[in-house]
């Protein structure tokens, strides 16, 4: 069967060159523990250093500002709890947005239980945070602001540089979750005024289970999650995941090399997808910002149909997509992102997300459009809500 993978925001295939590097660091003489003084250890140590350099370069940072972690979730938690607990004497107010990934949002909510005061900023109909809202929310107790760079569910790109300017020189730590933006739009920690930045390997054609946290030199931040060995210069205990780190480095390097050309290509496909879907189907709308969105991201709500059943039907045609429908979520709650944008519960039900990537072609888009027609028709005819 033809297989079309349209779920690159969930995870990406590992780039063949990355997979080879990972494999290489599990075998030959490359399996050493970087803390070991001997030959095997030193090969691993060198690989760590090189990889750290590559990740740093991808975000315009210095190599010693990169800490390797087990993924985006760990980085978000490390960033947020570390910053909050380290600065508790300076203030107890934390600002975030309603559309953050659960890794960040739940980390902030956990702070609220520990006595921190938390402002969760609303977003507009496009899922966009308003810069003025950020500025107004700041008090003299504010110690941390955590806002994502691009939203995973609706693709909207936040005004991070503008927020960075607002935060600058106020002694507030600015954390940005760049899990979805890295490799798709430029991410430069200096240009954007970022103090802490979250990176995840498996969203940029790198391995799963590896991520990074950027900590700007001089930031009042201490690790609070793991206790243990002296790895990562005392900032992250645990034997380093060398193959994963090497893979992340390679993935970051490749992402930078390919970004411009690849995103031009994906933008064309995305625009065809958005154009055709909104043209061919009635009662459908784009979610997220129409233009200030990730170049590979198309997301919709279809009225009168339910996302999970659409997903299953697409899957039978070999197409992999995702949804924010309540029925597809473990918690049976619709996506908090769609609800925050003012989309009603029953319409959030019909959400479909198509996120493009390296392997996708125009034929894939056409194949999807053809497959989607009968599916929408079938479910609408089956729906007690539809007037059709």
């Amino acid at each position: 069967m033809r297989r079309v993978y349209f779920d690159h925001s969930a995870t990406t295939p590992v780039h063949p060159l990355v997979a080879e590097e990972v494999y290489r660091f599990m075998t030959e003489h490359n399996y050493g523990n970087p803390s070991s003084l001997h030959y095997f250890g030193q090969i691993a140590r060198k690989a760590l250093d090189e990889s750290r350099e590559k990740v740093a370069k991808a975000i315009g940072a210095k190599s010693e500002e990169i800490i390797f972690t087990s993924g985006g979730t760990e980085s978000d938690n490390m960033a947020i709890h570390g910053a909050a607990l380290t600065n508790i004497k300076r203030g107890n107010h934390v600002i975030t947005s309603a559309v953050e990934h659960h890794a960040a949002l739940n980390a902030v909510k956990a702070l609220a239980k520990q006595g921190f005061s938390v402002t969760v900023l609303p977003v507009d109909q496009y899922g966009m945070v308003n810069v003025d809202d950020v500025e107004k929310a700041i008090t003299d107790k504010t110690i941390l602001i955590s806002i994502m760079h691009a939203n995973n569910e609706v693709g909207t790109i936040m005004p991070i540089a503008e927020i960075g300017k607002v935060v600058k020189d106020r002694g507030i730590i600015f954390h940005v979750d760049a899990v979805q933006s890295l490799g798709k739009i430029p991410v430069n920690v200096d240009d954007l005024g970022i103090d802490l930045l979250t990176v995840s390997g498996h969203k940029i054609y790198g391995p799963k289970g590896i991520g990074a946290l950027y900590v700007r030199k001089g930031t009042r931040w201490r690790p609070t999650l793991f206790h243990g060995g002296a790895q990562e210069r005392l900032r992250r205990a645990g034997t380093e995941n060398v193959p994963g780190i090497v893979g992340l480095g390679k993935a970051a390097e490749l992402a930078m090399e390919n970004m411009e050309a690849e995103n031009k290509r994906l933008l064309t496909l995305r625009d065809k997808l958005i154009g055709e879907v909104t043209k061919r189907f009635s009662h459908v709308r784009l979610t997220g910002h129409p233009t200030i969105r990730l170049p590979n991201h198309a997301s919709f709500v279809f009225e009168y149909i339910e996302g999970e059943s659409v997903l299953l039907s697409l899957d039978m045609k070999g197409i992999a997509a995702s949804t924010g429908s309540a029925c597809a979520s473990g918690s049976l709650e619709p996506s908090h992102v769609l609800l925050s944008m003012g989309i009603p519960h029953e319409i959030a039900h019909g959400s479909i997300r198509l996120t493009l990537g390296a392997g996708n072609t125009e034929e894939d888009v056409d194949y999807f459009l053809e497959a989607m027609g009968p599916i929408v028709e079938r479910f609408r005819s089956m729906s007690p809500l539809s007037e059709e």
Partner: protein, 123 residues
């Protein structure tokens, strides 16, 4: 995630639609995830001779709607009232635990349709 039976009923749902001159109609909304299911029945001599459904919901909701209509068709009112959510799920070779409430929906819609029919008989 779903059994083959679920996928079969999801792909080829039985008895989709509405009966124009139905003897009873049951519509239920799912308090858990917000889905809606509507079942209409035709009853002759205390027997469900025709039954149709419309469902706005997940794969499990569609499959359980389809299954419940198959199970109820040809049964007496009393027999049909004995169809439980567990029975529907069992006939589908089981449902994932987080989807059991969908089969609840199907059984409830059927029972409501029967109630509606009984109410109209009482008048």
């Amino acid at each position: 995630m779903y059994s083959e039976k679920v996928m079969d009923h999801f792909s080829n749902p039985r008895n989709v639609g509405e009966i124009p001159d139905a003897c009873g109609v049951g519509e239920v909304g799912n308090p858990v995830c917000g889905d809606i299911m509507k079942i209409s029945i035709k009853v002759e001599d205390n027997i469900i001779t025709d039954i149709k459904f419309k469902t706005f919901g997940c794969g499990a909701a569609i499959a359980t709607s389809s299954m419940v209509t198959e199970m109820a068709k040809g049964k007496t009112i009393e027999e049909a009232l004995k169809i439980t959510k567990q029975a529907v799920a069992d006939m589908l070779d089981g449902l994932p635990p987080q989807k059991m409430h969908c089969s609840n929906l199907a059984a409830d819609a059927l029972h409501k349709a029967i109630e509606d029919y009984k109410n109209s008989q009482d008048k």
